[in-house]
Amino acid sequence: MIRAIAGPAELLNKARERYPAVFENLGTAALWVLFAGLLIAALILYTQLFIVGVIFGSIIALGAIGLTLIYGIMKFAHFAHGDMMMLAAYLAFFALTGRIIGERTEVDLGWSLDRLPGATTGLGPLSFGYGLLLAMLVALIATVALFIVLDHLIYRRLRRRGSGIVIFAMASLGIAITARSVILMLWGAEPRFYVPGIHPAHEFPFGILLKADQIFIFATVAIVAILVYFLLFRTRIGKAMRATSDNPELARVSGIDTDQVITWTWAIGGALVAVAGVLLAIQAQLKPELGFTILLPLFAAAILGGIGSPQGALIGAMIVGITQEVSLGIELSIAGRDILPQILPLAPGYKFAVAFVILILILLVRPQGLFGAKA
């Protein structure tokens, strides 16, 4: 009797040992089918949430691509990514309004982008004018400069010293906390908006409601993603970045200037962080702790796609974004009674926990991610 029960398990284990590739591929295939099925179901059943998820996913994508590039080339988890997104968003706020309005500080530069003629008049149906676009550019330049300076001040020294990845990760965590504190100190804990007020949504076919700003967000991400693709696959420095990510030792041996590659990686990461941060603040709001909250979806997206793979980060971000939004709307009723609230209280606050569940699932089934090469 006992033999009969042990039989199948034993057989399964033997088969797993003998055909590891089959099991590996089965697991991956199952994962793909699961995600594809979930996404299709979500699209049909919760179209509105699906579309909002795509918008949110596209913001995550910009951050996750930067995160995965930094990991690929420097091999450490850049924990400051989320907080840097928020810092960039606040820098854009500062450039736009010229104001620092913290608990103790009260500064008004007296000159800012929104005082340019017509800078706040909405561009077409958008809620903001060209002033915010200029502010985004200022934030982008400032963030790129900040990333390069931080590399020279901190990470480069750690590299020269041959520090382990844990030290790098801790250093970035320190920078994250510093960035958040600076935001709190200068602009306070209260949420802020680039353009206060309620912005109406427009109705599209299939009953989808979207704000013009959300379409702007998606279009911006699409353009930036194409630029990043072009850079990585068509330019000399982009190819060198991919080569360094593949095999840093061989890159050095081939004569690739890895210091230059690292500087470029920070620059691109910084530019992506700045755009992602401003878009996040347009979609949600400016809030000091939002940067830390967004970190989990960023990592979930990067790991889901296969850390080091920019295409993977893009698709991973979409899956994470859509799953997060759709999970809020799931209703399950038996005999007319809505049972889900009892077993799964998915209040909006739990949204980010969904990213965590995805992260655990992927680490269990396919740690190298959907697009990652086997380590």
Partner: protein, 234 residues
């Protein structure tokens, strides 16, 4: 004229000293093989000469110029190319991109050189838009050699070019090495496959315990009783 010379080089990993005053030299258009038991310091020697490991004592000369302690990037610029034993291609880059990375420091038009190098390796050329990770072991080794040739080096440093290859591929790789050498590139290689590599080498060195043990022409080493017993399997 001597292209490369290592003079009483002392080196190792961290505190561990592996090479104790090893000296070698490579003349222009020569093939030189270094053989020796595992742990003799053969690969360490190549890495030290190329600047991947610090040279604690002794000197390295390239074309008569002292290049001791220079970085690999400087070495590559001077005309030295190195092919590691394993992981010697960029797996997610295409064949062509791998060659472009080999030419990274070239500011001139490297296209003609790329065509020339590809012509030397016909089966790799057929797959120039394939990711290097999808190539067979032998094709990868060819690509690694091709990558190293992109800068038109004066000397190639090869770490076990025939390691983990099928016997017919070993023959092919050695034939290519001979071709490369005939085009005027000096070669220094570390090999486990002592008999085959000594056959095509002008000269050879035997290292043991991080020291020079024997030195001579390829033929004389093949005929030497000690080499025969210890390294050629009887």
């Amino acid at each position: 004229m001597t292209v490369l010379e290592a003079r009483e080089v002392v080196s190792g990993y961290g505190e561990v000293e592996i090479l104790h005053e090893v000296s070698i030299r490579v003349e222009e258009e020569e093939i030189v093989t270094i053989i020796g038991p595992n742990g003799a310091g053969k690969s360490t020697l190549l890495k030290t000469v190329f600047g991947l490991l610090p040279c604690k004592r002794g000197r390295v000369f390239f074309d008569g110029e002292d290049v001791t302690g220079q970085s690999p990037q400087v070495m590559v610029g001077k005309g030295m190319s190195y092919v590691p034993q394993s992981d010697n291609v960029f797996p997610t880059l295409t064949v062509q991109e791998n060659l472009e990375m080999g030419a990274f420091i070239r500011r001139d038009n490297y296209r003609p050189k790329m065509e020339e190098v590809l012509a030397l390796f016909p089966d790799v050329m057929e797959r120039r838009h394939t990711r290097a990770g999808k190539l067979s072991g032998g094709q990868r080794q060819m690509l690694a050699l091709a990558r190293a040739l992109m800068l038109e080096p004066r000397i190639l440093l090869l770490d076990e070019p025939s390691a983990s290859l099928a016997p017919n591929m070993v023959e092919l790789v050695f034939a290519k090495i001979l071709d490369i050498n005939r085009s005027g590139v000096a070669i220094i290689m570390v090999e486990q496959n002592a008999r085959e590599s000594l056959k095509l080498s002008h000269r050879g060195y035997v290292l043991a315990m991080g020291q020079n043990r024997l030195e001579g022409s390829g033929e004389s080493l093949l005929e030497s009783e000690e080499v025969g017993k210890t390294y050629l399997g009887g």
